[in-house]
Symmetry: C2
Subunit: 469 residues, 2 copies
């Protein structure tokens, strides 16, 4: 190997300088695979650095795959096949639209992509500084546990805190009824494991949350769509479908329903619970958007007192999608069964993450922060509604809050081809068919109100409507 | 409310003092539920503090459930039902032993409990300081993403790094073939989703990993146990069972097998792959203990080049069980399908956690740290083997490394009653029946070599054997 030139006064640690220099020689093929490096003592003497510095540099190069260590014989340049770069997958063809595809598109979209299909807020809206502050606090706290497995039901202080939050929505729960999860998505998967067997009929909202549909299909459920109105499900249809299909469970979203943004009316809530009683089915109420609703609204779990209703909450929309934290609240026997399922399918949830969530919720700023989010969302919704009106789309309702507008594209039977042509311009749209239990055609599109205010979307839609006219 | 006494010079922030004082008044019933608190301005003037301080204190009390805020009317003491404390569940009766029970026992065991059943290392053995250091580095890095959802397959730099590590075990994989998961447990659940339908025959090691069995049962699989020898599965039996049951998949552990600690011999490995070829089944190779093996050993994934073999790895044993990080490496089409399953069942994995893992692996100390762990484990194993010999148990093998000794209790047909009486003394044992696919009786017990060196265990076993004699 060639001598490496080091600058002890440059401010860059010597270890980093050595790592960088040797990597450079390997990348430039000055050091060939199989070549033996100078022994540690020799390198140290030659460069006037400590042996410890050389050991650390060589170790790091081993960890990075540049060197191999052969016991008793020294360090050699590794034979490495260079991994391909950015190996994310190519977008699928139109026609291959499905739930997993859409999620992956939205998650994979680079900084260029316009994620008008996203079900969440942009990173810049979230309190990343608050997350960093609370993580720092945890790092200062010797008692915080970063390495040992967490408890099966999750971090106890968070489970003791959540009942106070739930009480604000009228939901009475004890900490023992709460199981913390990797986001609402895992909570839904656990509920499906508990209630659903392959071939079972399961009631879902039509339209409804496509990722839930995907997960239900994965478990082999037969999806029965209950038509959704601006006030919740069509309860006459619910009654008829329950009688016909004898479902064990109905998955629904009462607050800021995905994709329509509508909320359940109290009268509808009561009829749903009566119907569940009559036909003996359970209800899984997914309340992932709860904190984004600006006022009081009805939850099935509050009326039913967590008897037939299993309630799911999430911190992904207001705190962090990255950290994956959510929870389920249920009757004690169901909470118990869900804990077993959690342990068998993922063992535990990260206590360190749950400590961050707990601190974010209890350090006093959360309420104000969420109020600010609601105000901003209200403004974004109003602007997006005006934009959609300008280009000529018709919203299903004008939502009271939340992230979504569900709007109809005129002159179309199905929005899939439109979404495919949008994807070619790096605009990710969520065509209505994804939100239908049998992937029926739909002329509607779900828009994220924040991303919808990007001028590229208005231009794209205007051009598309011009072509249709 | 009573006036609060504040000490501005005490070093305790005023907000904390106010929160503490008001909580005290509420807990002591000096402030009753429904009572109205002093208005913010009034409180501030009375105590000579800024209004901002009072707002923050009240907000925090609202977040903690002590106060309620009524818009336009002020702050009131909340009507709160006090949640029960430490609501973890009571231990089950003997006879109700099952996989979920055992995991929950081991995870729930308080500081008093002796977790001789644990499948992991004690927290004090892990590099918690290293985790904190890397988390601090992430907090300093503006580019680290704490709030936005991660990529579907997981954090790219970690996926680009893992191929170098896998290459050391002879496994060739591209980053696109790697999917990061919430620990090995989620990876197993994803593989089950992919390969198994309710009623399908699935081959497993007998004895084998009980949490895998629990998850397979949850998915409705029919478990077919392949007898396990000190050199891996009995391949003649494997051949016979494959012909009889036509399984689609065989779940096995080639390195430091759980519970026996044995490793697959190269000759056996070859025969297994031939058998898989002949009977057209896949193999899921769970290598959760890989880094704890002291030498070179055979992996099916290395021989097969990730064709029929799906390979699962984990960082739970060497870095942190808490953070829940693992991965799966598979043929491109299978990796693709597993990514879809991951997205549908848990959306994404926490990128912040994966950044910590990546930094732990690449900052150069990991190799030495793991070597230290191996040395300590070797010593603990030797000591535990001597202890078991002293009390009169017979080990299945003397393991070459890892966490487990699998040992036979003389004079017993089944170790369950023994485990139940141990549980009454807060000693958690893992009786052999848990590791058998049909929960058959077993006189063997799996010991964690670290916890086995607690003198309480030796005393308990000696007493138990006295009684049996």
């Amino acid at each position: 190997m060639q001598q490496v030139s080091l600058s002890p006064d440059s401010g860059v640690p010597l270890v980093d300088q050595i790592v960088h220099a040797i990597r450079g020689q390997i990348d430039d093929r000055l050091l060939r695979p199989g070549a033996r490096l100078a022994a540690i003592r020799q390198f140290a003497e030659l460069h006037g650095v400590s042996r410890f510095t050389v050991v650390e540099a060589y170790d790091r190069l081993v960890a990075q795959g540049y060197l191999q260590s052969r016991r008793g014989s020294g360090f050699y340049v590794a034979h490495r096949s260079v991994p391909e770069r950015t190996p994310e997958r190519v977008p699928l063809e139109p026609g291959a639209f499905d739930a997993a595809w859409l999620m992956r598109q939205a998650l994979d979209a680079g900084s260029e992509g316009l994620r008008a299909s996203a079900g969440w807020l942009p990173r810049s809206w979230l309190d990343e500084e608050g997350l960093r502050r609370q993580l720092r606090a945890i790092l200062r706290n010797e008692d915080s546990n970063l390495s040992d497995y967490g408890r099966p039901q999750g971090y106890l202080p968070l489970r003791e805190h959540l009942p106070f939050r739930l009480a604000e929505s009228g939901i009475a729960a004890q900490p023992s009824q709460i199981v913390l999860t990797h986001g609402a998505t895992q909570a839904l998967d656990m509920a499906i494991h508990h209630f659903v067997r392959r071939g079972d009929a399961v009631l879902v909202d039509d339209p409804g949350y496509f990722s839930l549909f995907g997960c239900l299909r994965l478990h082999g459920a037969r999806l029965i769509g209950v038509p959704w109105t601006p006030e919740g499900p069509d309860t006459a249809e619910l009654e008829r479908l329950a009688a016909e299909h004898k479902p064990k469970v109905y998955f629904t979203q009462s607050v800021l329903h995905n994709p329509t943004g509508a909320c359940l009316s109290p009268a509808n809530a009561y009829r749903i619970l009566q119907c569940a009683e009559r036909h003996d089915f359970h209800i899984v109420e997914d309340d992932a958007y709860c904190d984004l609703h600006p006022g009081q609204t009805t939850r099935l779990a509050a009326l039913d007192h967590l008897d037939r209703v299993v309630y799911i909450g999430s911190f992904s929309k207001t705190l962090s999608g990255n950290l994956r934290s959510g929870f389920v609240a249920a009757r004690p026997d169901i909470a118990d069964a869900l804990t077993d399922i959690k342990v068998l399918t993922s063992l535990a949830t990260p206590q360190a993450v749950e400590e961050v969530v707990y601190r974010m919720l209890t350090e006093g700023h959360y309420r104000k922060y969420v109020e600010r989010l609601r105000t901003r969302l209200g403004e974004a919704t109003a602007r997006a509604l005006r934009m959609l009106e300008r280009v000529g789309l018709t919203p299903f309702i004008a939502p009271q809050g939340g992230v979504f507008i569900w709007a109809r594209m005129p002159g179309l039977d199905d929005a899939v081809a439109l979404a495919a042509s949008a994807a070619r311009e790096s605009i990710i749209l969520a065509p209505g068919t994804l939100f239908r239990p049998q992937s029926q055609a739909s002329p509607l599109i779900r828009f994220n109100v924040v991303y919808a205010n990007d001028v590229r979307l208005e231009r794209f839609l205007a051009r598309a409507l011009d072509k249709l006219a």
